[in-house]
Structure formats: C-alpha cells, structure tokens
Symmetry: C2
Subunit: 535 residues, 2 copies
C-alpha cells in the first residue's frame, strides 16, 4: 500500500527523501534511519520461501487471530506441517487489508457512513495493497503457488502528467508530461556540468581521461549536441507536429524545450530522481482481476478453518495453553482453547482487547502508531486519459492537499469504462478528507482531477472511498514506528509473550506491504515450531 | 520492430544518438536529420483516425498488392467506402511482417534453411513487430476497433542486467542491474555539479535564487546528503542484506555504490539518458497472445478478398486501368484488372517486378535500401530470469556483436516455461549471423546469453530464428532512407504514378513501425478517393 510521495500541510510534495531530510534536521541520522524503517522505504523481501517445518506437530493446536495474509500464511504453513489450526476473523470475509471493491462490496466506517460499491461489472478498485514489487519474493511465492495470474502494474509513465500548482513561473498549475520534465531538467543540468567539465574545472575530481568519459556520459544522458554541449531539446519530450506518413506531416516538427528557469521554478523536478526507490522500481505486478485474488487463493486452502464475523474479546494464557473468548455477529459468545496463539490483529486494534500479556509486552504495544490512509475509486464512463491524452496507466504526481497521487488503471486497456484512483493520501490531510461524507469525498476528488483533465467531471459516474483509520478492524493503513519504538518496543513484540506470537506487517521492515505480513508470519511460525520441537 | 541500440563493428554499443553523432561528424546536421528519419527515431503517430471517404466509390475497382497491415488497411477502409477490392498476397497467410511464430509455424529462407517452430503450446515469439508505443494512435485505432486485447510490454526494467564486456575496469564483463548504474552514475554526477553550484561557480549561468533550486534539484535527483552533498548510495541500488521481518534481517544492510571511475570505465552509462527516446517510452503495449492477433483482426474483415500464395509478376497500366499478372502456388498464371492499384510490396521486392511506371518513378525506387534484421526466439524450460534473478521483462543491453539486445518476455509471468528473444540485431553483424544454419544461430545466441545468465544453456530447449533480409517476400526488415533518398526519391514515390499508389512503412517517417504502414495507407487511399471524386 506504500506510496512514494505525500504532501505537507502547505501543499509541498513530500517525497520520502525530503521527509527524511526533515527528520534529519530534527533529530539526526539515526532518526532518519528509523523514519526510513517506519515508511518501509526501499524495502525488499528478504525471505523467498517459507521456513521448513519438519519434525511433526506433536498434536499441537494453534488458534490464529485474523484471516489476513499473515494469519492465512500461518494457517496454511502450520496445517501443512501437521498442526491443527483455527482462525477467528472479525470481518465476514478473509484477506484483511488485501481487499478489492467491486459491485456489491459494502463498507460502513466508524463515522457511520455506509457505502455499497456500484461499479459496473468487471471494474474494481484495490483500496488496500495494489501492487507487488518484483523483489517481494514472498508475495510472489504464493501467487505462483496458488496460480494467481499476474499482469504488469504501470508504476512509472513518461506520458503521465505532473501537476504542481504551488510552484511558480509559467509551468505552475499546468499539466506537463513527466517525460518533458525529465528531458528538460536533465538536459539543461547536463549542459551546465558538461561545459564546466570540458573547461577543466572539475579536474580536481576527475582525471583527464575520466573527464572525457564524463563529458561523453553527459552528452548521452542529456542528449546534448556533441559540438557545443548545448541542450536544445530532444525527441524524448515529444513533437510540435508528430511525424507520420508521406511528406505531410512527414518528419513532423520538433518541440521547444522549457527554459531551465521555468523548470526549476515549477517544482516539477521533484518527481525526478536517479532511479526509483527500490520498492517502486520496475517491474511491478498486480493480480488480474483485483488484489483480493491473493486472499481468495489463500482462502481456498484455509477457508474451512476460518470462523468469520467473529471478534476476539479476550485472550487468556495459562502455563499450558491459551483461551480466546470471542463474540460472533449474532452476539453469541464462545471460547477456543489451543496450545499456542498466533495473533495478527493490528496493534491499533489489539490495544483495545483484553490481552493477558506481561507488563513490558503491553507497554511495548504503545510504541507504535498507525497511519491515516485514504483511497477513492472513481468510475469514469469513458477512458478519456487513454483516448484523449494517450496515457496508459501510471501516476499523476501533484501537490494538491489531500490528493497524494491520482493513478490511472493498469488493466482493461482500451475498454469503454475504467475506475481510476482519485486520491491516495495519508497523514493529516487524509484525516480531514475522511471526515467528509462519501459524496463529499467524491466531489473533492473530482474537483481536483478536473484541474488536470478537462473531461474528469463530465465522465464521472460513481465512487467508492475507503479510509483505513476509520475501518474498525484496522484503525489505520499500516504501522508507523518512530526511532524509540523500533529500538525499545519492536524487539519485545517480535518475541513471544508466553504462548502468544504476534505477526503482521507491523513486525517487519516491509511496513504496509503484503510481503511484510507474509514474512513476519513465516518468521513467527518458525519460532513456534522450533519451540514445539524442543518441548 | 525498431530498436534503440545497435552495435558497431568493434562491439561498441551504438545508441541512436551516437549513431547520429557519427553522421554529424561525417556530413553535418542535415545528414543527421536524414539519419534520424531513416531509423524512425522518436517518431510518433501523426494520424489518429482513417480519412473520411465520403461521396461514394462510383463503382471503382481497386487491386491491392500485399496483405500486410498497409494492404489490409487500404482494403478495409476502401471497402467500407464502397470500393470493390481484391488483394494479392505472396504468402499463404495475411499480415506481412506482422507475424508470430508458434508451434507449427514454418519458414524457409533464401539460403534454403527450413524451420518449423517447435515451441510448446501457448508460447511464441514476435519475430516481426513486437511492441506498440502509447502514441501510435493509428495502430491502437485498429486494436480497439477489432477488439484485440492488449497487455503491457515491459520496455524498461530497473532490475534487468546491463552487460558490457568491452568496457574497462572491474565492472566490464559483469552483469550489473540497470538501476545500480542509474543510481551510481547519476548520483556521482549530481554530487559533482551540486558541489560546484553551491560554491557559486555556476553563477554566470544561474541566478542565486535559481542556484538554490538547482542544488535542491540535484539533491533530489542524485539522492545526495543535504548536509555535505555527498552521494553515498541509495536504497534504489538495492541492498546487501534485504530488509524483512523481525529483527533479523530487520532493516537489512545497505549496498555500497560503485565508484564513479568504475562506472565511467565500464561504458554501462551508455544505457542512461534523461528520458527514453519517444518511440521507446512507457507505456508500450502488445497484443495478448502474439502480435499476429492484429493481422488476424484485419483478416477477419478482409480475408475473403485475399488471394493467398499468389505472386505478382507484372503490373501494366493503361489510361483507364491497371492489369496485374500473377502466378499462384501451383504455377498457374492469371490476371486481374482494376481501375486503380495500391501496391504495398516492399520496394526491395518491387524492384524485381515488371512494373509499368515512369522513368523518374523507377529511378526513385533505387533511392532506398533495406535493413538486415535478425531475431531469434529461445524456448527455456524454466523462467530462471524470474525465479533466480527476479527480472520480469525488459532488455539485457549489451555490447556483444551480433546480439543487439536480449529481451525477456512480458507475458506469462510465473509460468513454467518461456520464450525469450535471444538476439535482435541489425546491420552487418546481423548479416554474418544470418549466414549460419538455424542450429548454429541458436548455439551463437545461447553462448552469448550464457555470459549473462548461468542457467541459460542448461535451460535451452528449442529455437526459432528469422532473418528479414532472407525472407523472399521482404528482403529486409524495413526501409532505410539516406538524406539524398529522402530529399529526391521519397517525394516522388509518395505521389501516384498513373493509377498506381504505393503504400507501406517505407513511405512514412515511422519506419519499421506498424503505424507507418497504416498511416501511409490512410494517406494514399485518401488521395485515391479524392481523385475518384473529381473524376
């Protein structure tokens, strides 16, 4: 669910890098590291396969709390190893945050706003996790195992617009193609440094032989004229008249680059960096038909063990076992006894459950907070972004408060209708927007998108919005650790308390990613199994 | 079919940019422009929709030579407008260069080498055109019209290897991830220039206010430390130990950047530029199941008009019509009479046909040459590039002579087997490789790939290779115009000669692209129709 850019209160686009700079200014390097941990920046999957649970389960019963990816991973692997598992799930369906909203999907938030998704058949929004980095091998382990078909997720699109209304100069508040900003910012910068280098002014840093290679690199990078090292534009920024057949349009006409000053003033260069953050790199993938295909893949394996619509009220431990008290949808209470408990309930929710753990463990649970996160899917009656703007997928980076990014769908190319992501925002601005009614949220998102695409409002049909901090089973999008929390609380929660093992993205450095949930489950059941073997 | 990089005789990777530099050194700017035309560099589609052919066909008969995309486009649009069309096609199937090799596909080249494709069911190689830029609206017009489902083509992959064996230093001959080269080359360069700028040494070029923004941009671009403007690596280049769950691996360990000297020596920076060439930009698309789905889409519409396996031997004109003499597969000769002829036969082949045209027109036909182009599909019994290297699609840029690029498939993610593109090369090295037997070509391609992937040779099962200059219906991959040809010959061939209209990618500035064929056909039938209206 992670996203690479957020927006500060004054509307400045906050890349994670800049966020870390802010942390650095505030608390030095170690705080920066903790911040990087908290946002899961650049994290890749460490484990490619589940632990090998050999030696038998010795008749051990495990009760698992939560049928999200962590809980179902634990159930699937433990069952394969011979354990008797039961899962309690508060929702009427499995998957946890791995959800997809399509026609008929219902949600009532903590404010009391009820929505039933009314998208056309075949259309959907992944309002939870929505993309899989190529290096999240744990997630990809299960998509392969369960035969969940994947397609590419377009996470970077040269043709997509960048829209910065809070910059200055003539480019502020104008949708500009990302490729044009890349061509012009890097082209002008390459010209500056190539000229400096060719005059010998970098010779303290470069040997003469390196200097020649460096200038050659800059010519290549910036598409400079090798004669005078000037940047005067490139086909990569598009054409004033597109080339075509015959003699008219024939070769077409080149486009004129933006001046370096205009590019710098616009702030649009903030979308450029040497290489994408590791977790945002190409190639990213998504399940065909919606992210919940992964949840359904797991559910096919462990669905029979799940007790749905069942909320945990109390967890009691004894020297020999665990007793979980629950209440079902009809208000009926009950108990399950087991030898061990794997608890994947988000700590935001777990804090409010009567939990029989040690005082240090309980104290550690207050060392983490959860991120407010909003998403909204907007069904458009026409794929105007493809038809009129030739944009196939990717993000519209912008500095509109409360919007984060607008993202165009990576599926259903050239279809009639489409559902785009109208906002993906976290933090304070997300809280403000989530206080609106669903209709007001849609109006807010449509008004923002209209600034980028003139067809937006006319094409809008129906919306489905979701605020993770207002979902009572989550109370936030993902765990956020500060430096003290990672240092003091996190290691405590990674260890079992008695017969209770926590698991989930919150106990990983892959925060907010499905891989974090899966790998945490792998790690915790590995510990549990080792203990059973020793017992 | 265009590709962005070729290789010189001495094995240096020749980006198009560098190729143009060579031309510039040789003949100045106008030769560069002609060279850019010849390679179709940066060309985008100019026409989004076919011409409107209103006013009736007045009983006009048109004979169309060639059932490639140009010919079938002409037949489809003219028929819709009321014309009576017939198509003669030398091959036993429609599509021209829009071909896909799958199990049972047969080809015998001019040397006499016969191959029958033996890929497993469901696997294929697009040995002709293989990707559609998002701005080729003409091609996308027909995929939408004919309901040809599309998927993303991964044309740029941060995780894909770059392999330069002819560089120097410790990185030469080592597969390196493209993202690592991007992070390190740009990071080190950004450090150099940010330091120069912050000392005020660029103040002639930048105002003090611009200087601050410029340094901020460089910090963002190069992921520099804001404190001392140093580049010390970034998560974008990957990790020494990947982050994961719990405390071990927990946050993981960062990776150490390559030195700037090593990066410069390696030549791997040649793969970097400010933005991809326009025709290579994201998002690119491909038909699900093979490029020939486009040909089949057309064939469904115009197949009944096609006379297959029929070679044109002579085209005779009179003041009132055209007579085309042909020979079919059984050796039977025949004639077709029509009011007009649209001829889409590549000029390389047309030169050898008895064509009744004016002397200037005939002379103009010698103003164009055709590119030698090779492709080979290699079926691998295991998708080791995904399983072991976590590379999902994209190109392996390299400087191995005769290889061009190796490209991993953008479809069938996580399947068991896959067909990768073992080489895509043009020019003199391609001619050399095409002289080998099919088995030798496969061995050549496998030996090259083995240098990048240790699993290559062990995984190889079967190959299918194709050399367009050895296909008797093509005699080359695409038309190549030099400056004189574009100036003197091209405009002549764009005009009708009597009742004969040429059409095809060769009469466009979208050389080698399907869009060039389609838009040329649109343009020429527009002229033909205007003439019929005036008659």
């Amino acid at each position: 669910m992670e996203q690479q850019r957020s927006v500060t209160a004054d509307g400045e686009v906050l890349t994670r890098r800049r966020f870390f700079e802010g942390l650095a200014a505030f608390g030095g390097v170690s705080l920066v590291m903790a911040g990087m941990d908290a946002l899961g920046f650049g994290f890749s999957s460490a484990q490619a396969a589940p632990p090998s649970l050999t030696g038998g389960a010795k008749g051990t019963k495990v009760v698992i709390l939560g049928a999200g990816l962590a809980g179902m991973t634990a159930a699937y692997e433990l069952t394969k190893a011979g354990y008797a598992c039961q899962i309690l799930e508060a929702r009427a369906f499995a998957g946890g945050r791995c959800q997809t909203a399509r026609k008929g999907f219902q949600h009532t938030d903590l404010i009391g706003h009820s929505q039933t998704c009314d998208f056309d058949d075949g259309l959907y929004i992944n309002h939870g996790p929505w993309r899989i980095p190529y290096h999240h091998r744990s997630t990809l382990h299960y998509t392969k195992l369960f035969g969940v078909p994947l397609e590419s997720f377009v996470n970077d699109n040269d043709a997509a617009y960048v829209y910065f209304e809070k910059g200055s100069g003539p480019l502020a508040g104008k949708p500009i193609r990302k490729g044009q900003i890349a061509a012009d910012a890097r082209g002008h910068a390459a010209e500056l440094i190539a000229k400096v280098a060719s005059k010998g002014d970098l010779d303290a840093a470069l040997s003469p032989a390196d200097r020649d290679k460096f200038v050659a690199y800059m010519i290549n990078e910036g598409r400079l004229s090798p004669k005078d090292l000037a940047y005067t534009g490139t086909d990569g920024r598009g054409f004033a008249v597109h080339p075509g057949a015959g003699v008219d349009p024939g070769p077409g006409k080149p486009s004129v680059p933006y001046s370096f000053k205009d590019v710098l003033d616009s702030n649009a260069w903030r979308v450029l960096s040497s290489v994408a953050g590791y977790e945002q790199q190409r190639t990213m993938l998504q399940p065909i038909g919606g992210m919940d295909q992964i949840a359904k893949g797991f559910e096919k394996q462990v669905g029979s063990m799940i007790r749905y619509s069942t909320s945990v009220e109390k967890v009691k431990q004894s020297p020999t076992g665990v007793t979980v008290s629950f209440r079902d949808a009809a208000g009926k209470v009950g108990e399950i006894q087991a030898d061990y408990c794997v608890c994947t309930i988000p700590i935001s929710v777990l804090k409010n459950i009567d939990l029989d753990v040690s005082a240090p463990f309980k104290a550690a649970m207050s060392g983490v907070s959860y991120a407010p996160v909003n998403k909204i899917g907007l069904q458009m009656k026409r794929r105007f972004w493809e038809e009129d703007h030739f944009i196939y997928g990717g993000h519209i980076y912008n500095d509109m408060p409360g919007i984060g990014t607008i993202t165009l769908p990576s599926t259903g190319w050239q279809g009639q209708k489409g559902v785009l992501l109208g906002y993906y925002a976290f933090g304070g601005e997300a809280v403000k927007v989530s206080m609106k009614t669903p209709a007001e949220r849609a109006a807010f998102a449509v008004a923002a998108g209209q600034k980028v695409f003139p067809e937006y409002a006319d094409s809008f049909e129906t919306a489905f919005s979701f605020s993770w901090h207002l979902a009572k089973e989550n109370l936030g999008g993902w765990a956020e650790w500060n430096e003290a929390g990672r240092r003091d609380a996190y290691p405590v929660l990674c260890q079992p308390d008695g017969r209770l093992y926590l698991a989930g993205e919150h106990l990983s450095y892959l925060g907010g990613w499905q891989a974090g949930a899966i790998e945490s489950a792998w790690q915790q059941i590995g510990k549990l199994h080792a203990r059973v073997q020793q017992a």
